[in-house]
């Protein structure tokens, strides 16, 4: 989930903080930079796969750093930030929207971290003005929220809540969140504006949004501590019946294995890297000050690299065998683990989450009904792996998989009539097909109450009968007049002849050969 840091670079950010105990003069901007520095440092150490970009704004906006994992660049840009004029949030949000769409399209969930002092401009271009003029805008001047992509908006105020509530700023920011579908949060500073309080505010953001997701991956008694990246988001199932968000368990238990061909490119809600980690219980991983010495870290990494890890074994075998592991994420919630190759050399253990529910993939059926092959009387994969119990077939065939009759277009009806006539001319060889087509037409005509058609086709058959050449097989005439008679009877609606499930059977004649007798 990429992050856009949207930094207020307006003049009001340079307002000094009134400090009682501190001698050094600090601007709000300094506090913001300190907070972001802490965030970047945290990401560089604990969340380094996150792509982050930095956008600064005043009345204009500028993309200072495009999406990157290089946190030094971000840090550098932050420290070279200049001061500009007034705040104009609307255009900046447009900017964010563009930047994200260009890079990630419209499906990628994004996090926007807006850092501002809470003075959101005055007059035209101010947030207040934007919100007041929300309605009745032309299509091309719509307010940028909600973003066309899923986005969480985190508003980091270099101000305390009381300060914001004195004006309508807080109200405006809340409105902004609402416009975003309520996705996000407003953070304010507690107590005095100082380095400590800004750090505590960013600490809260880190805890909620940028802390790694630790889990244990298990396959029976084999297990590995892992980190799941990006953090799996809570999922809402049915806002009405089940309004509580669902979270994935930190215990990921493998249920069994399925061939890639059988699972067959299933739809997934999100994808996550599963990275094996060494859980160091002594070290408190929270706290920004604990920057480990790089040397120590590498040697620790080397050590960890030499200890056999289940993830690596699993990944290797999944890759070689072309299989996926079905993993349980929660009650009635499943996902799959597989090997994902990024390039020719690099590959990784990846986890995709299916939609929560007892039956996420119709072709697998209910996951709770998937059992070990040893339970089956006979190996469903065959002794030589030539078979597969998947995919499951639906109970009722879809319309395109059965020979349905649709006469909405005249062509549909004409084709069906022609088929009958074509077979009629090839009687008695085509007796079976003739009656099959005839009965299909009969059924549909009866269902649609289209008795006129039955009469019409009966007449056509009678005419065909008269047009039979002298060389024709005598059986042809019998069958044609028999069929015509039956259709006519059906067209009266007489329940004796017009039953839906009844079929017209070929007439038994002295001439009818094996073909008709077999019916």
């Amino acid at each position: 989930m990429p992050t856009v840091v949207l930094m207020d670079a307006s003049l009001s950010m340079t307002r000094p903080v009134s400090l009682e105990q501190c001698s050094e003069e600090l601007q709000r901007k300094n506090l913001a930079v300190a907070g972001l520095t802490m965030l970047f440092e945290h990401m560089a150490n604990n969340y380094r796969l996150e792509f982050t970009s930095l956008v600064a704004f005043s009345s204009l906006w500028e993309l200072l750093v495009p999406f990157t994992r290089d946190y030094n660049t971000l840090q550098e840009a932050l420290s070279n930030l200049e001061d500009y004029d007034k705040t104009c949030l609307e255009s900046a949000l447009h900017g964010v929207s563009n930047v994200v769409q260009q890079e990630w399209g419209h499906a990628c969930p994004t996090q926007v971290v807006l850092v501002t002092d809470g003075s959101l401009g005055i007059g035209k271009g101010s947030l207040r003005h934007s919100l007041q003029t929300l309605k009745g805008r032309p299509e091309d001047k719509k307010f940028p929220l909600p973003f066309p992509f899923p986005a969480k908006l985190f508003i980091m105020c270099i101000a305390n809540a009381e300060e914001l509530q004195m004006t309508d700023t807080m109200h405006n920011l809340e409105q902004l969140l609402q416009l975003n579908g309520g996705d996000g949060q407003i953070f304010t500073m507690e107590g005095q504006l100082c380095l400590k309080s800004v750090q505590s505010m960013f600490g809260r953001l880190i805890d909620e949004v940028y802390s790694p997701f630790p889990a244990v991956l298990r396959c029976g008694n084999l297990a590995s501590d892992v980190q799941v990246f990006p953090r799996p988001e809570p999922v809402f199932l049915d806002e009405e019946i089940d309004p509580m968000p669902r979270h994935i368990l930190t215990d990921l238990e493998i249920v069994g294995f399925i061939e890639i061909g059988d699972i067959s490119s299933p739809p997934v809600m999100s994808r996550h890297l599963v990275l094996p980690i060494v859980v160091n219980k002594e070290v408190d991983d929270v706290g920004p000050g604990t920057t480990e010495e790089p040397e120590e870290e590498t040697s620790a990494n080397q050590q960890a690299g030499k200890v056999p890890n289940f993830c690596v074994l699993l990944h290797g075998s999944l890759k070689v065998e072309g299989m996926v592991a079905l993993v349980q994420l929660g009650p009635e919630w499943y996902g799959m683990l597989y090997s994902q190759a990024d390039s020719k050399k690099k590959s990784n253990l990846m986890m995709s989450l299916f939609e929560p529910g007892p039956e996420p993939l119709p072709w697998l059926g209910k996951v709770s009904q998937l059992g070990p092959i040893s339970d089956a009387a006979e190996n469903p994969y065959g002794e030589d792996d030539s078979k597969s119990p998947f995919p499951l077939q639906p109970k009722i065939k879809r319309s395109y998989a059965q020979n349905v009759t649709v006469w909405i277009k005249a062509s549909g009806l004409q084709t069906d009539v022609q088929k009958i006539l074509r077979n009629a001319r090839k009687l008695p060889e085509k007796t079976q097909t003739f009656y099959k087509e005839l009965n299909r037409l009969r059924k549909a005509a009866l269902a649609f109450g289209f008795w006129e058609l039955l009469k019409g086709v009966a007449e056509l058959l009678e005419r065909e009968c008269t047009l039979l050449p002298d060389t024709a097989h005598p059986d042809a005439a019998f069958q044609l007049s028999h069929a015509a008679k039956q259709l006519k009877l059906a067209s009266t609606g007489d329940s004796q002849y017009a039953a839906f499930d009844q079929n017209i059977n070929p007439m038994h004649t002295d001439f009818s050969g094996g073909g008709a007798a077999g019916m």
């Binding site: 066309p148 049915d238 056999p308 009904q369 395109y400 289209f450």
Partner: protein, 743 residues
Amino acid sequence: MIVIGKCYYFICWLLLTSGPVGVLEEIWSPEKNSHRAEPEMKMFSVSHKTAFVVDHCPYMAESSRQQVECDVLTKSRGQGMIPLAPVSKSLWTCAVECSMEYCRILYDVYPLKKLINYIVSDSEFHILNSWRQEDQSTHELMSALAAVGPPNPQEDPECCSVLHGLVAAVESLCKITEYQHEARTTLMDTADRVANRGRIICLTNAKSDTHVRMLEDCVQETILEQNKMAAGSDRLMSIQQCELVLVHIFPQGEDTLVSDRPKKEVSSLLTSEVHSVRAGRHLATKLNILVQQHFDLASTTITNIPMKEEQHANTSANYDVELLHHRDAHLEFFKSGDLHMAGSTSRDSGLKETVTLKWCTPRTNSVELHYCTGAYRISPTDVNSRPSSCLTNFLLNGRSVLLEQPRKSGSKVISHMLSSHGGEIFLHVLNSTRSTLEDPPSISEGCGGRVTDYRITDFGEFMRENRLTPVPESPDTEASGKPPAERAKAQLERYTRYWPMIISQTTIFNMQAVVPLANLIVKESLSEEDLLTCQKTVYNLVDMERKNDPLPISTVGSRGKGPKRDEQYRIMWNELETLVKTHVAGSERHQRVLDCIIACRSKPPEEEERKKRGRKREDKEDKAEKSINKDSEDKSWQESERLKGALERGKEEQGESEVIKDSPDSPEPLNKKPRLDEIQLPEKAKGPVSLLTMWTNRITVANSRKHQEFAGRISSVNNKAELYQHLKDENGMDLHENGKATR
């Protein structure tokens, strides 16, 4: 390339569909919803229940005056033959076939949870099916419709009305569906969250706008009435929201007496809209648009499908096929505003917007796992046209087709895939944007990445054995306890009780000779035959040991050539014991396998001592094991802790063996003399186990079950029992132990 059956018919199709262009209608405007407000967020939305009310009054028997030429080919046959007069459908036939088409599309796209109740109304109402899922199929409805037949023009028009049907529809909407019932039962306290909404689609021939208003009022009143009744009933639910869609059908060439009216609120419970449509093609189009609106469908046209025609095998022509599916398959398009760029056109045949995607001829049948963000069932708009059936048959035969999104820039972007799964075709949405997970650290750079001797092949074999299979639901399986998926997990637990991850950590799993036992011991229960195989495996190992066969023991971490042969066997036996011990609690036969190993293996003196030292540890182990059996579902940490213990012990043993080897107290090098004694036992001395040996063993085992075995023989090794063992026990350690025979 698809081979088309008969090109002849094909041309007919092409000629006949180039009809006049109809009214253009916008069917969906891109919504400004945020990503969360997807239409499927509510299961019990208005579209959960749809009641069709079709007018069966005498006037519906009237002709639609749209004529269909059945006898198309007669003209070409010439001969001055009089062609058959064209047939024309009645208003009833038009209404029925268009409503069936609505149902066909709905059932294709939503085979479950979107229910239809079909009601026919004349002098009374006839309910043709119920809300039950098993009643939901076009075949079921067609059969019921055939029984109803066309309206009787002779019936007294005074006593016939569509009102009977509308009242029945409201009553029906109050009836609880199995899904509502299930949701209410599971929610218990919050059962009131289960909503009851529904839609009534009424196909009728109304007399005037006033008549329409009368129908609306009637529905409104009935809802109020029924809601009162429902309030006092467990089996009924009051209606919270009802959408009435009135479709007035009139014959071609007549002027309508009823005006179109967009959706308006009649009350807080009822909305109503009126569509005034000519019978025939216009009605079909209207219902096609309605089914799309009601169920959030969208249209995709697959273009450039190459089809070979049978009669001109050398040439191929390109055809288009239009499919309907949930509109989320186009989410990316209409969020980006790319809709028009993506090739959205208004097709004259469908009278609606469709997104055009280009067919990409599949290369091979390679099995690939695509990153797919959604899969939606499809229904062809024109299901029995040749191109449609060619495409669907091609897919049903198991081929997948990638679809390309045409872009102005000319760049090629694969955005979708068509694929069938078990007779159902799905439109998969493939991710075509940059991934945020790009360039991750390779797994070889992380934890355990430097280890090179993982048992990849063995784990692959393990995965094959632990593949899943659907188990039919039956009351028996529930009675017998665990659901299949839990049994699968339990099997994984059993199979991994002792599973070293790397080759150098194990001896037994590198030995072909152990395979039969290793495969069987993990089973939940052993048959007598299984037990025998296990015992044979053990005997075989004993034999190998006696013959001094080399073992594939890892030399990693030890100096020189690694442990000596006898040490190797000791390590092997220990490991085998470890494996089998983890399963002894499984059954009595599992225990007998362990007994067999203990009885057969040679035990050097140190072993005894070590055993004493290790007894405490094993006791703990046993306890852990018991607790696992009590509750193997909750095998959490304890279990893996135990496993670690086992592994550590394994290491310790290896460590120990090295110490012993280097210690001055280590036993004398192998003395050849005792071995000579052994050679005198003829049947065991030569090469691999002979048939005779196997037979003898078998008989011995079988016989041994019939009588109590001599105590001496039980504790014997290679048929040698040590006498006066108690003396040794009393004196503590004794170097002259029977195990020495093989040393």
